[in-house]
């Protein structure tokens, strides 16, 4: 799989369709994001499998925003899994990236990872290699629903109380891109205390993810204290879907219906 992708990227360079390729590279026993500007560098190219498949994922699309701002004229190739593609689709809609300047090089996640991740769509549309893997339906939202009202409150209170306000969840999120973050708004959430006000901090973030979260799970992976953030946002996505008929990241041409707290109510 890796070789095919490398060939594909080399072609992109050769055909002058891109000036640089954002992917992963293994160096000194570590895997990290890397901007390949020369096809010769592709030696150390990695798909992010270290100890198990896909254990080294990074929000490449978010890194691409920063690169695109710095080099607005250039065209970039980018390595994408299903979740990365969904993130990019949203970022195009929110004008964070120019679709014309981005070439996605997609590969599917192995079934094993899809299961572990409970990913509904573990492959991108822009597959250049491999097969479409079966999506998995997550049970996690149901488990929490079954706890009952009191159980849920107790569960979330306990989990949210662990928060150390490291902002890892926000910083890793590919679709968190506001210039001014409401989480740092002192009037909404008093600064200088951990845990940050419970549950406001987490509900504010969740509400802001409505119509945006593409369910990549990076936030939950980054959270040092084990708060099941992804499950919380999964529920948010479910409600948005049933109320607005919209699943972020899936339909490329459908406009995002709303930004739940950002704009003024119109009716």
């Amino acid at each position: 799989m890796k070789e095919t992708i490398i060939e594909k990227v080399k072609d992109l360079f050769e055909d002058s369709r891109i000036e640089a390729f954002l992917g992963l590279k293994e160096e000194n026993g570590q895997i990290g994001p890397y901007l390949f500007t020369d096809p010769k560098d592709l030696e150390g190219f990695s798909l992010g499998d270290k100890e198990w498949p896909g254990d080294k994922r990074y929000p490449l699309s978010k890194i691409l925003i920063a690169l695109a701002q710095k080099y607005p004229e250039n065209r970039f190739g980018i390595l994408v899994r299903g979740c990365d593609e969904r993130a990019l689709n949203e970022l195009f809609k929110w004008n964070q990236l120019n679709e014309e300047h981005v070439v996605m090089v997609g590969f599917p996640c192995p079934q094993e990872l899809a299961e572990a991740c409970e990913c509904p769509k573990p492959y991108p549309e822009s597959l250049v290699v491999g097969e479409k893997v079966k999506g998995i339906k997550s049970k996690k939202v149901e488990v929490i629903l079954n706890m009952g009202m009191e159980g849920r409150l107790k569960y979330w209170t306990e989990r949210f109380s662990r928060c150390i306000k490291c902002y890892g969840c926000r910083n890793v999120c590919p679709v968190c891109f506001c210039n001014e973050c409401e989480l740092a708004n002192d009037d909404l959430i008093p600064s200088g205390e951990i845990p940050p006000e419970n549950p406001i901090f987490h509900l504010v973030r969740a509400a802001h993810m409505a119509g945006r979260c593409i369910d990549c799970g990076l936030c939950e992976e980054a959270c040092p204290v084990g708060i099941p953030l992804r499950t919380l946002y999964k529920k948010v996505a479910d409600i948005v879907d049933s109320e607005f008929g919209y699943r972020p990241g899936y339909q490329k041409d459908q406009k995002s219906p709303f930004n739940i707290l950002g704009e003024r109510p119109e009716d």
Binding site: N198, A210, I239, V240, E243, P265
Partner: protein, 65 residues
């Protein structure tokens, strides 16, 4: 749109373990003073009936202050 948002919030609150009846959406025009009072009184009654927010107790149980 607003109605949808409120429905969103209610279900979201419920998932977080907070009774959705603590949130209500009503349409009242500036000319309907009596109705405004009615709506507010009714809502106050409703919230009173629900009793103190369970959040406070949950936070106390988690022993954080």
């Amino acid at each position: 749109m607003t109605a949808k948002r409120i429905r969103f919030l209610k279900e979201f609150l419920s998932f977080s373990g907070i009774e959705p009846d603590r949130l209500r959406l009503e349409w009242v025009s500036s000319a309907e003073a009596t109705r405004f009072v009615e709506v507010i009184t009714d809502f106050i009654d409703q919230v009173k009936e629900l009793g103190p927010s369970p959040l406070k107790a949950a936070l106390a149980a988690q022993d954080l202050n």
